[in-house]
Symmetry: C2
Subunit: 156 residues, 2 copies
């Protein structure tokens, strides 16, 4: 892990990072929903239009998973991440519809060393995704655990 | 939707419902992680053992998705569900490891009619998943939106 760009020390409170973009296809909405959330509005355009969501819309959990992929590609896979104890909140603010393109940012809210494991740091983050109309569709706050750079060094 | 068992009126504050069981295979852990959360501890047994998670462990988002499937099968697909505005919190309390069997319950915390859409009701729920050793691994609170039975009747 020595070569990773992001160790605990590298996160700066208040800094924002770009999450790139993600196109959302009808096929992947239906694939995810078929496995995990087979409600009609996530499986079928007509059922989506008849629902309060107004069209074939991604499961909220699919939006979470797509967000996680964006965060992985933007930052997490090049970090000393050790996972997360949980999610403070998620807001599904508007439907994510087939054909939408998502973009977003993650902002570091606060950081502190773990008391029980001093080689580990906790980083609180707030993330937000927008669609191609600039509408905020998703908001999340969570805490990630990251090794300090020294602790991440391979033994030699 | 007339034939659905669960409309807004049918949820009772304090009532708990069984979520069935779910076996978690290494293959599905790796498949989900490869698409959405390709951190080493979710892709590889040795990397999982070397991490603080102690083995090949499901992405927390995968646990959320598996929970959602359990909730769909137990209740949601036979309901007037209209989706959810978000998640109040998620706690990933212990790793979900390859070979684990999950079970759990969902409990109705509170319910109220929507002010802006009186045909819709909001149901707050607390869910918990346990592994085969009886350890609590996952906790979630969220709010679901359900049509009232009359509003769910097909026009005739």
């Amino acid at each position: 892990m020595t070569g990773k760009t992001w160790a605990y020390e590298d996160f700066v409170e208040g800094a924002s990072h770009d999450l790139g973009t993600k196109n959302v296809s009808a096929a992947e909405i239906i694939e995810f929903a078929s496995e995990f959330d087979a409600q009609p509005m996530h499986l079928d355009e007509a059922a989506g239009k008849a629902s309060i969501l107004g069209g074939l819309s991604a499961s909220g959990w699919h939006t979470c998973a797509m967000f996680m992929r964006m965060l992985c590609d933007a930052l997490l896979l090049d970090s000393t991440s050790q996972g997360s104890p949980g999610i403070d909140h998620v807001k599904w603010k508007k439907p994510v519809l087939a054909g939408d393109t998502l973009c977003g940012t993650v902002t570091v809210l606060a950081k502190r060393q773990s008391k029980s494991r001093p080689q580990l740091g906790l980083v609180s983050m707030r993330s937000e995704l927008f669609n191609q109309r600039g509408e905020s569709v998703f908001e999340l706050e969570n805490t990630g655990m990251f090794l300090a750079r020294d602790a991440a060094k391979d033994p030699s």
